[in-house]
Each structure stands twice: as structure tokens, then as C-alpha cells.
């Protein structure tokens, strides 16, 4: 038992590094009317960044941001009607994001529209080494996972690139944890 615990503690930091999309999400594929899956691992990002060779400011910014990344993963499910997926489908993913190194920096809950959004970051010393966004609307579920070193000031530049939805992120005070509830 003791050995098992020591072994578990030993691999815990490793587990914290990897975010695995749970099998429950795969099951949603059968229910979704529309599904988008974008998978850009390190080699694909390297390839994609070769095509970002423009000299305009935006392209330079995106190329700089992409150079520190190991992967961009986007999964989006759109359903015919509300209630086709439940919180339990996302819970295994949320459980991983409660692990060591991860913290939720933004949480938005709208009781009016049922739209929920959470932004989680993984800190590695003074830098952000991973970011996950869960956007759960009644008829749409989107998960964005960015693996690698990210400068929060440059984050909004990734919006609209590589299948990532446009992000309306304004840099705020560093280190603050936000949680917002709408009516």
C-alpha cells in the first residue's frame, strides 16, 4: 500500500502535465449534430508556423506565440437541442484541471442563458505552461487546450487562428483569480 502511494505521488506531477480528453467526450460524438476536431501537435505546429512567415505585426505576434507551444487541441460539439450532454460528461476533464499546477482564473456562469465558461491555467514557476478553456452552452460544448508556454498578453492573438474561437480577453491584473456570476 505504502509503495503504491509513493508510486502514485511520484507520477502525480507527470499526470499534472498531461490533459487527456475523457472517453465521455468521445461518446458525445454520436449525439452531436456537428463536431469539429482540430489537433495540432508539436510537429504540426512547427509546420504551420513555417507558413506564418509574413512580416506584418499580427503574423509576427502569432509566430512568436506559436514557437513556444507544444500543441493546440480544439473539440467542439453542437447539439440539436439542450440537455444532450450533462456536467458529468465534462467532470472527468474538470477533475484533471483540479490537479496540481492547475488553477481556474476565469469562471462565468449565466443563469439567464445557461452559458458557462471557465479558463484554467497551468503554472510552471513564473510562466504559464498550459491553458484550457471549457465553454459549455446549452446546445454547444467547446474545449480548447493549449499546451506550452503562453504569454497571457499575447493570448488574444491566437483567437481566430488554428480553429480557436476569437477571444475577447483583456489582460488584467496578474495573479488575480476571477469568478463571475451573471443573473
Amino acid at each position: 500500500m505504502k509503495i503504491a502511494l509513493i508510486a502514485l505521488l511520484g507520477i502525480a506531477p507527470l499526470l499534472a502535465q498531461e490533459i487527456k480528453l475523457p472517453a465521455s467526450l468521445e461518446r458525445l460524438s454520436a449525439k452531436a449534430v456537428e463536431q469539429v476536431d482540430v489537433t495540432l501537435d508539436a510537429s504540426m505546429l512547427q509546420l504551420a508556423s513555417r507558413f506564418l512567415s509574413g512580416k506584418d505585426a499580427d503574423t509576427v505576434k502569432v509566430r512568436k506565440l506559436v514557437s513556444g507551444l507544444k500543441g493546440i487541441y480544439v473539440r467542439s460539439f453542437e447539439f440539436e437541442k439542450a440537455g444532450e450532454y450533462s456536467e458529468s460528461d465534462i467532470e472527468p476533464l474538470r477533475a484533471q484541471l483540479r490537479g496540481p499546477g492547475w488553477s481556474r482564473i476565469v469562471g462565468v456562469r449565466s443563469h439567464k442563458t445557461g452559458d458557462n465558461a471557465d479558463v484554467f491555467i497551468r503554472s510552471d514557476g513564473n510562466q504559464i505552461s498550459g491553458l484550457t478553456i471549457i465553454s459549455a452552452e446549452p446546445k454547444e460544448l467547446t474545449i480548447v487546450h493549449i499546451d506550452g508556454v503562453i504569454d497571457p498578453d499575447q493570448l488574444s492573438d491566437l483567437g481566430g487562428q488554428f480553429g480557436i474561437p476569437k477571444l475577447d480577453v483583456k489582460p488584467g491584473k496578474k495573479g488575480s483569480t476571477a469568478g463571475k456570476e451573471e443573473e
Binding site: S29, A32, V33, E34, Q35, V36, D37, V38, T39, L40, D41, S43, M44, L47, R50, F51, L52, S53, G54, K55, G163
Partner: protein, 161 residues
């Protein structure tokens, strides 16, 4: 005429050397079997490839194209087509974009695969809609494509790739 004939032969030999990949053929075969049909014949498509090989528009060195028209979804064999496509492609290709839509009237399955081959990049795109399907494979010269992407406006006006 003496110069033209050997040149043409050389060009066609080069184009023929860029043989169609097994993966492309297997995807076309999978779609053909699923819908009990064959791709539409595109006249002079070999000539397009000969021109592409020489001119390399936007860094494209070779194109394989199969278009299926007027597909009848009532005659489908009922196989899991996305699975068949993934199996046809194998592990050598990486699917970086996959889109599945089951919306009535606009059913769609789209795969974008990419593979690096030396200095070139191969792009394999498969789009299967309710009544039509397209399979395209492009062999892209990465450097030429980079130049084109960097400055598409001025590159479009030039003949140097």
C-alpha cells in the same frame, strides 16, 4: 517541333513519376464502395498536372483530384465511412482537422490530413457531403508556398514560384 516533342515527353515522364499515393486511391475506393459509384471523369486532368509540375502555382507540384457527383444516399452501403477513410489513410498521415455534421440536408464529413515529405508537404483533403464528395491530394513545395503565403498579392502577379 524537334525540341517540343522531347520536352513534352520529359514533362509527362516527370508527372507520371509523381505517382498517386495508395492512400488517395484507397479513400476513393472507400467512397466508391460506399455509394456504389465511380468518380466523375475529368477530361485532360493529366495535362493540368503537367502544367502544375512546370508552373508550380502557389508551390503546388502535383494534384490528385477525384470528384463524385449526384451521390444517392439511399444507395449507401451503410459502412462507417469516417472509419473507412481513417483506415485507408493509416498512421502515416496526421488528421489535423476533422468536421462531422449530421444536420439534415447538409450532412458532411471533412478530413484534412498532412504529411511532411522531405522539403515538401503533402495535404490530403476529403470532403463527403450528402450528394457529392471530393478527394484532393496536393504535393506542396513548402518554400514556394511560404513565399506565396507571405505575400499572396504580389506573388499572384508574378510567374516565379
Amino acid at each position: 517541333m524537334r525540341i517540343l516533342r522531347p520536352t513534352l515527353v520529359a514533362v509527362f515522364c516527370c508527372v507520371a513519376a509523381q505517382a498517386t499515393d495508395r492512400e488517395f486511391q484507397d479513400i476513393v475506393h472507400a467512397i466508391s464502395e460506399e455509394f456504389h459509384t465511380k468518380p466523375t471523369h475529368i477530361p485532360f486532368f493529366g495535362l493540368v498536372n503537367a502544367v502544375t509540375f512546370v508552373a508550380r502555382p502557389a508551390g503546388t507540384r502535383h494534384i490528385d483530384l477525384a470528384v463524385f457527383e449526384d451521390l444517392d444516399s439511399n444507395r449507401r452501403a451503410g459502412r462507417d465511412l469516417p472509419k473507412a477513410i481513417r483506415e485507408a489513410v493509416g498512421n502515416g498521415w496526421k488528421p489535423f482537422v476533422q468536421v462531422f455534421s449530421k444536420r439534415k440536408g447538409s450532412e458532411e464529413t471533412t478530413f484534412l490530413f498532412m504529411r511532411v515529405q522531405g522539403k515538401n508537404t503533402k495535404l490530403l483533403i476529403t470532403a463527403v457531403e450528402r450528394d457529392q464528395a471530393t478527394v484532393v491530394q496536393l504535393l506542396l513545395d513548402s518554400e514556394a508556398l511560404e513565399r506565396w503565403m507571405a505575400n499572396p498579392g504580389s506573388m499572384a502577379g508574378r510567374h516565379e514560384w
